[in-house]
């Protein structure tokens, strides 16, 4: 199906940011694994240390056809912002032509945050939607689904395979809810 194939750019530089526990590192891992399956150059750089324990968390994921220089992204082509401080911190840096997906359940004043002209912004109440669908804690995957739909950084089949790979074997029961969350994001 035409709408399920990727429209890869040479380089996808994505910042995923939120509170610790919202699963931004997990969403980043799914993206990185998609790049791995595609045989691309990939880096996944998390924030680490005390901020991981309850504060803000973010990770930088680069998917590239070239060797990756610094894994720290200063000019992202995509941003998933899962709360207000994350949007305020990173929105301005997204380059024209880039995409922002923001969870407006926790970024209630998203509209007040400026981003560059030519950046497409998608404001979705992901946390609320997750709760409404009995998918508490999977707002991250809803946002990832939306980002995939808007950027198509890989084929749909690759995305599904990457998601499956990231759900640990001992938590196999979580695979189905993750798949549903992904689909909700894609259908938005």
């Amino acid at each position: 199906m035409a709408d399920e194939t990727s429209i890869k750019t040479r380089e996808m530089l994505c910042v995923l940011a939120g509170f610790g526990g919202q699963g931004v590192l997990f969403a980043g891992k799914v993206m990185a694994n998609a790049g791995l399956i595609d045989g691309r150059n990939v880096s996944w750089m998390p924030s680490y240390g005390p901020e991981m324990r309850g504060g803000t968390a973010n990770c930088n994921v680069s998917l590239s056809d070239d060797a990756i220089g610094t894994p720290f992204i200063t000019k992202p082509t995509a941003l998933i912002a899962m709360n207000q401080p994350s949007l305020e911190k990173f929105a301005e840096a997204v380059v024209p032509g880039g995409v922002i997906v923001v969870d407006t359940t926790l970024a209630m004043n998203a509209s007040e945050v400026h981003s560059s002209e030519g950046v497409a912004r998608f404001e979705i109440p992901a946390t609320q939607m997750a709760e409404d669908n009995g998918l508490k804690g999977l707002a991250n995957v809803i946002c990832l689904g939306k980002l995939w739909k808007e950027t198509r950084f890989c084929d749909r089949g690759v995305l599904d395979a990457a998601l499956e790979k990231c759900v640990p074997a001992k938590h196999r029961n979580l695979l189905e809810p993750n798949r549903r969350a992904l689909q909700i994001g894609i259908d938005l």
Partner: protein
């Protein structure tokens, strides 16, 4: 025949642990510290399942002395820490050098001095390449810049350590330790094929003289003879073990010298400079000791007009670049510290500055 391994996505710290086990490491002694803790955690999970021993020591000092003990008995042993913890290991590493014991020490650097911070840094360059402990000694220091190199270089470190009977160090940093990248893991070594260690204290079985592992020599001439013998080995290392990567250096007029995390930033900056038509290149030392002086010679012979050392410190490796350049080419420095990383744009500005200076000099 070994199967071709698939590419997997792993954290640098975990790859150090996995590759060490595949290199034949069966004894790991450590103490937790950010940003290297995942290494010890991985060892704790896996090492006992392959017949090895993981031990969380009571301190870093205890851990390095356990490595001394395991190495004395001929085992491949390793310890890991981050900057402040590595300082504590200094005495033990000096004793290992003095006793000619192989072993691998990992430093996943963070900012200093003192407790410093926990973000990536390269402020332990001097410590690693000059003197991790007291006395007259060096050791091979390898600087990975990718997760793949974490695997390749820890593997190499064990071989260098055994070949030259010396401790060897992996000098990594919080960036490479924490990040995930695809990696193809090296094959697991057959322990029975590791080099023999006839000097190890494995018991005489009434068949040979006692082996003695020791670093104490009270007769001055005996101590000097021992040191000279060791430095003869160092000469061989310097002559044969220099390693580096040269990127776009064939026609480069401005050559950046950077290792580890800084080299990744430098790589991006060099590409951007080339896009602007500036003839920039990158010399990336993989061995910090021995420093790749032959590559510096080659780059100078190729027509390099300026070196720029880019580091995550206030200027340490720049001294080795100056020594190697030996006045032939001017050497400048750019660095950030404390866990602050230079952006590629900042480094590009430095290159542009050098380029316009060279342009004026050429007029």
């Amino acid at each position: 025949m070994a199967q071709t391994e698939e590419r997997v996505l792993m954290k640098g710290n975990e790859v150090l642990a996995e590759a060490a086990m595949r290199a034949g490491c069966r004894y790991f002694f450590g103490y937790p510290i950010t940003p290297q803790t995942e290494l010890a955690a991985y060892m704790a999970r896996k090492l006992p399942t392959i017949g090895g021993t993981f031990l969380q020591a009571e301190s870093e000092i205890a851990a390095i002395n356990m490595v001394y003990g395991a190495a004395s008995a001929g085992a491949r042993a390793m310890t890991s820490s981050s900057s402040p913890g590595v300082s504590l290991k200094g005495e033990g590493v000096s004793y290992m050098a003095g006793a000619d014991l192989p072993g691998v020490i990992i430093n996943v650097e963070r900012g200093g001095p003192g407790l410093g911070g926990i973000q990536p840094s390269q402020s332990d360059y001097f410590q690693a390449t000059r003197a991790l402990g007291h006395g007259d000694f060096f050791m091979p220091v390898l600087a990975p810049s990718t997760v793949q190199e974490m695997a390749d270089l820890v593997y190499l470190a064990f071989d260098l350590a055994d070949t030259y009977r010396t401790p060897a160090m992996i000098l990594a940093d919080g960036m490479i330790g924490q990040m995930m990248e695809p990696v193809t893991l090296p094959p697991a070594r057959d322990l029975s094929e590791l080099p023999a260690k006839p000097w190890a204290t494995t018991g005489t079985h009434m068949e040979r003289e006692h082996n003695v592992v020791n670093s104490l020599y009270l007769t001055p001439q005996k101590l000097e003879d021992t040191n000279r013998e060791r430095f003869a080995r160092y000469d061989t290392i310097i002559a044969t073990e220099q390693r580096q990567e040269l990127m776009m250096c064939d026609d480069a007029e401005i050559v950046l010298v950077a290792f580890g995390a800084a080299s990744r930033i430098a790589r991006t900056a060099v590409r951007a400079a080339r896009d602007e038509g500036i003839k920039a290149g990158l010399l990336r030392p993989i061995t910090l000791w021995p420093f790749p002086t032959k590559a510096v010679d080659q780059v100078v012979a190729n027509g390099c007009k300026a070196f720029l050392s880019v580091e995550l410190n206030m200027g340490q490796m720049v001294q080795d670049v100056r020594l190697a350049s030996d006045g032939r080419v001017p050497v400048s420095f750019y660095g950030r510290t404390g866990g602050v990383l230079p952006t590629p744009e900042e480094v590009l500005e430095q290159i542009e500055g050098l380029s316009s200076k060279l342009g004026k000099d050429g007029e």
